[in-house]
Structures are given as C-alpha cells and as structure tokens.
C-alpha cells in the first residue's frame, strides 16, 4: 500500500518533506499529523461518499419516474455517466485522502512556523512568530473521541472564513496557520508560546528594525550636544574675562 502511495506521489510530483527555513538549524522541530487524523479523514471521506451515493440513488429513482418523451435517451446517458463517474472517483479520492495524511508536515523553528500540506495543490505557508497574535486549540466531538486536536496560529490582519467552503479554511483565511490532527497540541502550543516569549516586542506597533535606523547616529547627536555646551560655556567665560 505504501509503495503504491509513494508511486502515485511521485507521479503527481508531490514534493517530499519541506526544508526548514534558513538559519534555523538546530532549532527546527518537525511534527506530523497523528495516526488518528487519518481515521478522521477516512471518516469524513466515508460520510461524503455516502452522501453522494444517496443523492445518486435518489436521482436514479427520480429519473425512473420520468415518463417517456423524445429526449429520454439524454437522461439515460447522463445517468450512466453519473454512475460511472461516482464509481471512478471512489479509489481516486481514497488515494488522495491517504496521501493527504502522509504528505503533511509542520515545522516549528525558533522564529517561524512552516506548514506544508496538500496533494493536488501543494501549499506551503511560512509565518514568523513576530507577527503571531494568538494561539488556540480546537477540538470537535469526533476529534475528542480520537484524541487529536487542531492548533490555530493567528497572525495580524483580517480574513473571511467560509468563502471557499468549510473544508478549506486555510485558503480562505491567509492569516491563519492551521496545524491539523495533532495528538500533542498542548506541547506544541507551549513550545510556540515559549518561543514567542523570547522574541521581545511581538505583535504590531513595535519598531521593525534596530532602533534609530533613520535618525542621525546617536553618537553624533551626543557629540554635537556636548560641543554646543562647550561653546556656550566658553563664550560665557570669554565675556566674563572681557568685563
């Protein structure tokens, strides 16, 4: 099974594990989705398939009740195509589900988070901890049963949800890093929070660069001020001497 999956992965040119961001050697930790997440994906897939099958059967019954008319054969063709398409997509989507579970990586470095997921469309997201606003854990009833959870890392900025459908949360909210199917989300959250704490001045409103980037060199300002003081006192003395 795994050999088949790898062959398909190569066929689709799905890239292998993501490389950690440069400069994070030694601090990068790679996480994978937990095995129960695979079960959750399979379950979702199964529910979707059953829904599709029920719809297909219902439409078949409805077509069966359509009385004879000249273009009846068109409906028959559509019916056959529908059934064939449904049967054909079953192994294909099942394969995609297992690949989706396998080709999924989360990298936490000292300064950033990188999420790689997706099969048909490979999506890699890199977000810096300097921009993280909050970290939350989400766990639905099914996920509680399976003992896994999703970790959400939000950066500043808005984004709509639901425009691209519920299942595709990442694409609809670009300011959200979603680590799905973790079995130790608390540990990773603590890891992220601990690294956030180390970055002083997180969030917006802090100067981006090293201070005094655009103003004059502070050393120059000191010298200028001191020189001014010297000139003033020297003038005062001269005027006193002259009097």
């Amino acid at each position: 099974m795994s050999r088949v999956l790898h062959a398909v992965g190569r066929l689709l040119a799905v890239p292998g594990p993501p490389e950690p961001p440069p400069g994070s050697e030694g601090t990068a930790r790679v996480f994978r989705a937990a095995p129960p997440f695979y079960r959750l994906l399979l379950l979702r897939w199964g529910v979707r398939q059953i829904g599709g099958a029920v719809g297909l059967v219902a439409s078949l019954i409805a077509i069966g009740h359509v009385p004879d008319y000249p273009f009846r054969w068109l409906l028959d063709i559509a019916e056959t195509l529908g059934v064939m398409g449904f049967v054909a997509q079953v192994p294909f989507t099942l394969l995609l589900v297992s690949l989706d579970y396998r080709y999924r990586w989360y990298i936490v470095t000292d300064r950033s988070l990188r999420i790689r997921e997706g099969i048909l469309t490979v999506h890699e997201q890199t977000l810096g901890f300097a921009n993280v606003q909050n970290v939350s854990i989400r766990r639905g009833p099914l996920q509680q049963l399976l003992g896994i959870s999703d970790l959400e890392v939000r950066t500043a900025g808005g984004g709509t949800t639901g425009r691209h459908g519920k299942g595709d949360k990442l694409r609809s909210d670009p300011h959200l890093g979603l680590l799905r199917g973790l079995d130790d989300a608390e540990t990773i959250r603590e890891l992220i929070l601990e690294r956030l704490r180390r970055l002083k001045g997180s969030g917006l409103g802090d100067p981006d660069d090293a201070p005094s980037e655009d103003e004059a060199d502070p050393g120059d300002a000191w010298i200028a001020g001191a020189a001014e003081l010297l000139a003033a006192t020297r003038e005062l003395r001269r005027s006193l001497e002259g009097s």
Binding site: L12, A13, V14, P15, P22, G23, R111, S112, L120, T121, V122, E124, Q125, T126, L127, G128, A130, N131, T155, A156, G157, G158, G159, T160, R163, S172, P174, H175, G177, R198, K200, S202, L204, D208, D209, A210, P211, S212, E213, D217, P218, G219, D220, W222, I223, A224, G225, A226, A227, L229, L230, T233, R234, L236, R237, R238, S239, L240, G242, S243
Partner: protein
C-alpha cells in the same frame, strides 16, 4: 567634526547580495503556457480570459530592491503594488499539479492588512525557493534579536562615546574657570560684549 562614517555595530549590513533576485524583472515564458492552459479551462470564456491573461503576462513587471518589492501589471487598468520586506507576515507557496509539471509556483505574500486575499502574488518565478528564503530572511521578526538589541537608543556607540566624554570634560573645565573668575573679580555689572 567626525570624519569617519559612524556606523554602529548593531547596524545590519544588507544580507547576502542576492543579485539573481534583483535581476528578476519579467515572469518566465512558462507562465504564458500556464495561462493558456488556464484559459482553456474557462470553456466559452476562453478568448476573453486569454486576452486578459495575455495583457497581464506581457505587462507584468517585478522589481526587487533593498527595501521591498514592486510589482505592476495591466494595460488599460494599470496596477502597481509596492511592499516593504519588513512588513511581510506570511509567505504562502502554492503549486498545483500543472504548475509543478511546468516548474512554476505562486508566491503569495501577506501583510497585516484586512484583506483576505494576498497583497501580492508573484507568479512565473522559477527559482521560487530562493525568493522565498530571500523574503524569509527579510520579513518581520527575522532580524537577529541579539544584534538589534546591541545599540539601544540614546546610548552612544563605543567610538563616539570617547569623543563626547572628552568634549564634556572640556566644558566642565570651562565652567570651573568661570567660577574662578566669578570668585576672583567683583561681579557687579558683567557686560556683554
């Protein structure tokens, strides 16, 4: 009064001269291939989408400099975006099946704005991983915290501190001599010259 340029230690030199990235100006011709395929998917809208994409492909220009990226496109409706590296929050790298076959990718760059779509989408760049790492090294919060904390505001760097202290000592000496003058002579009516 100070001849030498006073660059503090904490000042970052522009990281590795990424000449190959600064040289990127136009998208790769493969992007046009991809656009044709994308227009084919539009079905009846094919000629219109193809025309639009042709204009977009022909007019797309990138400019990478030391501070940020500029991108412009459009013939009738021109658009130009500029964003600063330091404001980049998230970098999304997306490639679908077709793009992977062609060696293309989309690089979506997010800042803290409220829009749900990317502020800038770089298309048609072949060495996209290099560009990603280039942007990563310059985005918010990637500067070395140790080096940025070195020069606090108000504290003079080592080299100029000595100079400032010397002038201040001299000024103190002047004040001392003024006191001596005041103590020595009568200070009835000091005239101003």
């Amino acid at each position: 009064m100070q001849e030498e340029p006073m660059f503090g230690e904490g000042r970052e030199p522009p990281p590795s001269p990424a000449r190959s990235i600064y040289a990127i100006e136009r998208p790769d011709p493969k992007l046009w291939t991809y656009y044709v395929l994308r227009a084919l998917l539009a079905g009846p809208g094919f000629p219109f989408l193809l025309a639009y994409l042709r204009f977009r492909y022909r007019s797309l220009r990138y400019r990478f400099d030391d501070e940020g990226i500029s991108m412009s496109w459009g013939v009738l409706f021109r658009r130009e975006i500029h964003l600063t590296y330091a404001r980049i929050q998230d970098i999304h790298l997306t490639r679908n099946v077709v793009e992977r076959q062609l060696g293309l990718a989309r690089l979506e760059i997010q800042t803290a704005s409220g829009s749900s779509t990317a502020e800038m989408t770089l298309e048609g760049i072949l060495e996209v991983e290099v560009v990603r790492d280039f942007l990563y090294a310059r985005m918010r919060g990637m500067q070395d915290p140790d080096s940025s904390g070195k020069s606090l505001p108000g504290a003079p760097p080592e080299a100029s501190a000595g100079e400032a202290v010397r002038i201040l000592r001299e000024a103190a000496g002047e004040i001392r001599r003024i006191r001596e003058l005041l103590e020595a002579g009568d200070t009835g009516s000091p005239k101003t010259s």
